[in-house]
């Protein structure tokens, strides 16, 4: 409703009020007036002034009569008339006196006279008259003789009093006239008032009539407006494509539009009066819909205005069941009426179904492709590992120069082939969405040296110089995903090497941004370059540019595609610039952070393994792999027992105690995970020995699964001699143990500090509290470490200290220290002795961790 309509609505509401007030006023006025009039009528009809005028005039007359009679009686007495004549004359005299007396009395009692008699002009003559009457009464009341004797005196007295009588009646008349005049004036005033009231009444009535007229007109206009609106609404309802069904709260149809006729097949007159559940849907559906309506209405009463459509299965006249979407609300003017819009969505549903199916098919295809690639790569890597391992072992034998060159060639080809297979496997991993960026401290110089070292052969084979250098200030210690960066750089450099002959390949490294939170690597070659139009394409999968060089260089065309994916995983930017003939520049900008402190873990990569002879159980079904692994282990001085499948492995483990079990995962009969589980579950001699999984396809969640069944560590296949040696070394050093050992990273030792953990802690407590906690933690851990280093001797005491300390270390993200402590605890629990050296090593580890913790986070450094 528009604001103007609202305003007129308010005025409409006020106007009847005004009319009512006016009417009430009129009624009150009329009532008041009527009462006044009635009172006046009463006053007029109860005449009290009546005889006063008469009485006043009569007073004169009667006084005169008295005097005449007095004179007659006097004459009769003087003339010596007969006694009875005298007697009658005297009697009449008395009578006339009494009449006059009575008259004066009457005048006295007359009510209008009350107001008159106070006037002096009146009271003086009246006093004289009364005095005369009082004087005369004794004479009148005396016997005849006495009266006869007194007659002359009375006559004389009466003659003198006559003036007073006259004066009295005149004064009274005058006063009376004035009273009458005042009454008249009062009457006129009242009549005028009545006239005014009548006028006001008529004016009020006219006003009311006017208001009523206006109200009528407005009501008519409103009715017309409402009719217009209703017509419009009718048009809207009838042209709606959705069925509109109006029901009451019992579900009986009250209205039904033409779209509803079309959708449901019932005519309007057939549908109205019947229940929705009887004709438009099944009872179940109607019950459900009713519940939904109830809930939604409740929600709306709470002010939750949701208008989501509800889906039901509707039925039409011909029994066709179809999905329909219902939206509804209570009618604004009647809370027992519901308006529902029903839309037949069977077509949409069918389309959705088709799309879903198409998508599922596409996904399934994609999945099977990825699986196929993964399986193929895996299957190809196994024999390839056999070849490469054999070649490595062949070098232990004496070879002549030709054989040695051939072996180099074979090994080169083999490694290239392995690289291709790895590429495809990586791609499959990307497709599975299982690649995530890691964040660990690393050394840029070490990384770059490694890259250059790895690609030097390839570069030099084409007569290219290869070098790397810093541009701008160097920043060696960073935190990021060094493995992926390395893979990217290897791809870019080998790509450059392929397309450059007798030129140079430079890798420039530069820290970008004011906060130095981005590192840029630029791989610049002086090769053939790329045409501008091709630059867009080069990062696509399987893209090989049609040039003799490209064909010459070979490759899957996956290299740059993998680079693109790796860059995306790390949120890095990637680009290329090139001038055909002048060489190419590939750049990548990777977000990193500077690792502030010296990180011991960074250096561990190149540590030389120290071989301690061990009893090794090797569970591997593939004969070649088994042979190679055995050769590697034995050449490092270990004793190897072989098992050809999981079942055999379990039997060996039960029968004999080993120092370590190397377990292949994919095996027939019983796979590695199952075997590990059984070994742990059994009571055999090697039930608690560390188990190392060997697998070519270790995805993160699989590693988790392995850990769950008691596998301490996972080594990737093909087995790298150095990695294997370091792993075994860790086991000897107790850094890896049996079941329950903390999970460890595959090829990089645990960092001292877990930054994420610190951030979590600080976010939870705030810097101030964090600092206090750190102080307390430092004091406690100092004491605890000191106690452990001094060697308590009692195993349970060591376990208690280690456990308590490990918990708090974990809270502060001191990962390395926590692991060391956990290892000690585990050993004591297994009733193994803990070497004094191991305990002593805790002291420097704690110092280093604390230093790094403070260095990493300046906010905590104050403590």
């Amino acid at each position: 409703m528009s604001p103007s309509l609202k305003t007129s609505g308010a005025a409409l509401w006020q106007r009847p009020m005004a009319a009512i007030v006016t009417l009430a006023l009129c009624v009150a006025l009329v009532a008041g007036t009527a009462w006044t009039v009635l009172f006046e009528i009463e006053r007029l009809t109860s005449s009290k002034a009546d005889g006063l005028q008469w009485s006043l005039s009569q007073a004169d007359v009667e006084f005169l009569n008295f005097r005449l009679q007095l004179q007659a009686a006097q004459e009769a007495v003087e003339d010596g008339s007969a006694p009875d004549v005298v007697q009658r004359a005297l009697r009449d005299t008395r009578l006339r006196f009494d009449v006059f007396y009575s008259r004066m009395n009457t005048v006295d009692f007359s009510e209008p006279f009350d107001s008159i008699e106070r006037e002096q002009a009146l009271t003086i003559p009246r006093g004289e008259v009364v005095a005369f009457l009082d004087r005369t009464i004794p004479l009148i009341d005396g016997d005849d003789a006495k009266l006869a004797a007194a007659l002359p005196a009375i006559a004389e007295d009466a003659a003198a009093t006559g003036v007073a009588v006259r004066a009295f009646s005149l004064a009274a008349l005058d006063a009376f006239v004035r009273v009458a005049d005042a009454n008249e004036a009062s009457l006129i005033r009242k009549l005028s008032l009545i006239a005014a009231v009548l006028f006001a009444f008529i004016a009020g009535l006219s006003l009311i009539a006017l208001v009523l007229m206006r109200l009528t007109r407005e009501a008519r206009e409103h009715a017309e407006l409402a009719e217009g609106r209703a017509n419009r609404m009718h048009t809207i309802v009838e042209t709606s494509l959705d069925a509109i069904v109006v029901t009451d709260d019992l579900g009986v149809i009250r209205d039904y539009n033409s779209a509803a006729e079309r959708i449901f097949g019932y005519r309007r007159d057939e549908a109205i009066g019947r229940r929705v559940r009887d004709i438009l849907m099944t009872n179940d559906q109607a019950d459900e819909l009713q519940n939904v309506v109830r809930n939604v209405m409740k929600a709306r009463e709470r002010g939750d205005h949701i208008l989501h459509p509800h889906e039901v299965i509707a039925v039409d006249r011909f029994g066709r069941r179809f999905p329909a979407e219902v939206s509804f609300d209570r009618a604004a003017d009647d809370e027992h009426l519901y308006v529902s819009f029903v839309r037949d969505i069977s077509l949409r549903k069918a389309q959705e179904e088709m799309i879903t199916q198409a998508r599922d098919r596409a996904l399934a295809g994609e999945r099977s492709k990825s699986e196929f690639l993964a399986v193929m790569s895996h299957e190809m890597r196994t024999p390839l590992n056999g070849l490469l391992g054999s070649m490595q072992l062949l070098r232990d034998h004496e070879l002549n120069e030709t054989q040695s060159e051939l072996l180099d060639l074979m090994q080169g080809s083999g490694e290239h082939l392995l690289g291709l297979v790895n590429d495809v496997l990586d791609l499959a991993k990307f497709e599975a969405g299982k690649m995530k960026a890691e964040s660990r401290p690393f050394s840029v110089s070490r990384l770059m040296d490694g890259v250059v070292e790895s690609t030097a052969t390839l570069a030099s084979s084409n007569g290219n110089d290869l070098s790397w250098s810093w541009v701008g200030p160097a920043s060696d210690r960073l935190t990021g995903d060094s493995r992926k960066i390395r893979q990217i750089l290897l791809n870019l450099v080998s790509n450059a090497a392929k397309f450059t002959r007798g030129g140079g390949i430079d890798i420039e490294v530069e820290m970008l941004g004011a906060e130095r939170n981005q590192i840029e690597f630029r791989v610049i070659d002086s090769g053939i370059g790329i045409a501008e139009g091709d630059i867009e394409r080069i990062f696509n999968d399987f893209e090989t540019l049609d040039s003799s060089y490209a064909r010459q260089a070979g490759g899957t065309g996956l290299g740059l595609g993998i680079v693109r994916r790796l860059a995306k995983v790390m949120d890095a930017e990637l680009g290329a610039e090139s001038e055909p003939g002048d060489g190419s520049l590939f750049w990548i900008r990777i977000p990193v952070s500077e690792a502030a402190a010296q990180d011991e873990a960074v250096g561990s990569e190149s540590q030389a393994p120290a071989a301690v002879p061990m009893e090794v159980l090797l569970v591997e079904d593939n004969e070649i792999n088994r042979f190679i692994a055995r050769e590697m282990l034995e050449s490092d001085g270990h004793t190897v027992t072989e098992a050809v499948d999981g079942q055999a492995g379990v039997e060996w483990a039960n029968a004999q105690r080993f120092d370590v079990i190397l377990m292949d995962i994919s095996m027939p009969v019983m796979d590695g995970a199952e075997a590990a589980c059984r070994i742990r579950a059994g009571n055999g001699a090697s039930a608690d020995v560390p188990i190392v999984a060997l697998t070519a396809h270790a995805l993160p969640e699989e590693i988790e699964r392995f850990r769950a069944v008691g596998i301490s560590q996972t080594l990737p296949k093909p087995i790298d001699r150095k990695v294997l040696a370091r792993c075994l070394n860790d086991i000897v050093g107790g850094r890896l143990s049996g079941p329950g050992a903390e999970p460890q990273e595959a090829d990089v030792a645990a960092p001292l500090i877990d930054r994420d953990q610190i951030e979590t802690l600080l976010a939870g407590t705030g810097v101030e509290t964090g600092r206090k906690l750190l102080e307390r933690f430092t004091a406690e851990t100092d004491g605890c470490i000191a106690a452990l280093v001094s060697g308590p001797g009692d195993r349970s005491e060591i376990a208690r200290l280690a456990h308590a300390c490990a918990g708090t270390c974990g809270t502060f993200g001191l990962t390395a220290l926590r692991r060391a402590l956990a290892d000690i605890e585990t050993k004591t629990k297994r009733n193994q002795d803990v070497a004094q050296d191991e305990l002593a090593a805790l002291e420097p580890l704690w110092r280093d961790s604390l230093d790094q913790l403070r260095a990493i986070d300046k906010r905590l450094a104050v403590a």
Partner: protein, 169 residues
Amino acid sequence: MFALPRLAKRLSALAVIAASFAAPALPALAQDAEPILLTVLDEEGTVLAEFTLADLEAFPVAEIDTTTNWTDGMQEFTGVPLQILVDAVAPDAKALDLTAINDYAVTIPRDGWDQDYPILAYRNHGQTMSVREKGPLWIVYPYDVSSAYRTDVIHFRSVWQLDRLRVID
């Protein structure tokens, strides 16, 4: 009809008894000791009847307690309803001329009296009324009962010092 007063004079001894019958009370014989209060005349001036106080008191008694315009305070009038008196002397009277000692006169038509009012009062507060007190007879209406008894006409008909009554046929 005109014989009735004369008959009444002779049967004065029976007056009290007669008053209890339907026949009107008979006026007592005029005695010297007892003054005549009311004289009833016909249109020609012929005396139809004369009433002493005792004669009037022989009629059924009516009482009116009321205030009047001409007196102070509540009055207690005792008298005979005018109709009873009229029925006794001139049942067919169409009007009455009432005349007072002071020669005030007023005519009351037939519909001016009913079976109750006015009365012809001969006592006030139980005492006979002297001429000075507007006696001896006074036509009285119950003024306090209704405004219908407070109109000018009623006031004019309230004749005091009444002594003559002329019947108009």
